[in-house]
Symmetry: D2
Subunit: 174 residues, 4 copies
């Protein structure tokens, strides 16, 4: 091969490791949607939203990357195609969103909020799926600070999410 | 020497690198207060709140540690007694607060908010000095998530800050 | 899907970013071999040995992961299927080998040697492809220290490498 | 204060966490020497060479910084004046030497060797104290690779070490 095929766009999905059932179902549908669109899913590689999105994507034939806090390949949820153990503990939150062309958040506590901060600082577009509580709802689309380098956008449904996702990635085509 | 003297408690001060003048003055007074109390100041080693607090502490005879995002010792502000370059970029925000027995925040954008998140996750007590805008005011003392491992407390003045600081560190004496 | 398909084993290939032509050719053949065996290739995502192995693997239909020192997706060589920017600078050398079920080294300077150290510390098996100079030849298969947690094995040809690779991964089947 | 006093030079001492008694004694004498010269000692904050050097320096009135792999302040040896927990696991080896104006190694296994690699890559001068086995003896002063950015120098005694230390730091006066 003399020239490489384009890299599939990467979407990082973030949220709680122990969410309510409705959030799990939404995360799984988000994962499936990403796979259907030919996008690579990136998560923190563990349980809850991370595992549900991974199961949704892998079951739909998608590529799934898990970026772990621990140093052990075995700690990833079973739906990851590729596992990246970091050994960095919670500091790996800075890495999950760096691997994103775009970030999607559902609910989320302090860990998810730290990831939203890093996505904002590094100019990654962020879509907040409304209706699942936590920081995705609490932020309400207000800018995190004066930096205008990133878009933080609220989506009210999976349909709106899919639409905005397509629009946003079109502007960043590889 | 057959047994070591106790380690001075460490207080990390976080806030904007480009704050308004009133915030700079407050940060300098916080630094001086910490030095007077025999506490070691830790900051992110750069300008703004970090430099002002460092100047206040060092001028009052205190020990000042700067934990830098870059890999160069020369990038620290001149008031640091000890410089720790990390080369980690913004991921060093996870480290500044790990070096804290207690964290003090004044104002602050997305970077400061990421540090508050990591302090919360790791159970470091956090004092928010009110009146300087940004996330320190925006959070308003509400818990970041269901984790009850950390105290997030609003202080309305430097006097209240000094009082709460003494109380909190008494409970963590080394 | 109710149960996940097994994760393909991951092999990290390490070596210089500016090697001689013979090393580039060998790295490309190693990459192609890994793809043919259904293994996922992991590299540091940049040029030289990293890019040559990636080109070999991707051209043969393999999955290629690049773990970058910088924070920019765009800094990866064009053959990566998945890009993981870390923003950690040279400290990302600790991560490239953590993502390995097995490590292969060709030649290499101080950066490659640091990766061999981390692979050794974390018990990842290491194959040194002989004949390309640098630390892969200089170590000569001698243990790095008293830790018996890792195998460091010299391979004298690509044929021997393929044989040892198959044997080693059989013992670690997922 | 209108201008800051100069920062004391920082020297990182690296070596095994479980060394023989002769190495422990030498490390303690190195620590004491650094304190006597007004230099700040940096170590990885744990036992063995790190603790012995720290005990030597602190007992002689010196400033001691420990940069830990874990996220807990309590994991440092008791001789540290300042503790910097990183939570990065073995990747903190990239940080201990970044905090050095100069590095001194005694003995050492794969962990110490990884630190020597990072010191080399980042151009920190490295003094190898001969006679304590491990990589400090095994390297024998040969360059790690073609990069000419760092000096790697063998010292045959504590007296020679003190002499070379003074010479090297003179060239880097802050």
């Amino acid at each position: 091969m003399t020239s490489a095929p384009p890299r599939p766009r990467q979407v990082t999905v973030i949220g709680d490791s122990d969410p309510p059932a409705a959030t799990v179902q939404a995360a799984e549908r988000v994962g499936a949607m990403l796979a259907r669109l030919g996008l690579t899913l990136v998560t923190g590689g563990l349980g809850g939203v991370m595992e549900a999105a991974s199961r949704g994507a892998r079951s739909a034939g998608g590529l799934v990357v898990g970026i772990l806090p621990s140093h052990r390949l075995e700690d990833a949820n079973p739906w990851c195609t590729v596992v990246v153990p970091t050994g960095l503990g919670h500091a790996r939150n800075a890495l999950t969103v760096l691997a994103a062309d775009l970030v999607i958040a559902l609910g989320g506590g302090a860990g998810t909020l730290s990831e939203i901060c890093f996505a904002w600082i590094h100019g990654r577009p962020i879509l907040l799926l409304e209706g699942y509580g936590g920081w995705s709802d609490r932020l309400g689309g207000a800018p995190l600070d004066h930096r205008g380098t990133s878009r933080l956008q609220v989506c009210r449904s999976l349909e709106e999410l899919e639409h905005v996702l397509a629009e946003t990635l079109r502007g960043r085509a590889g």
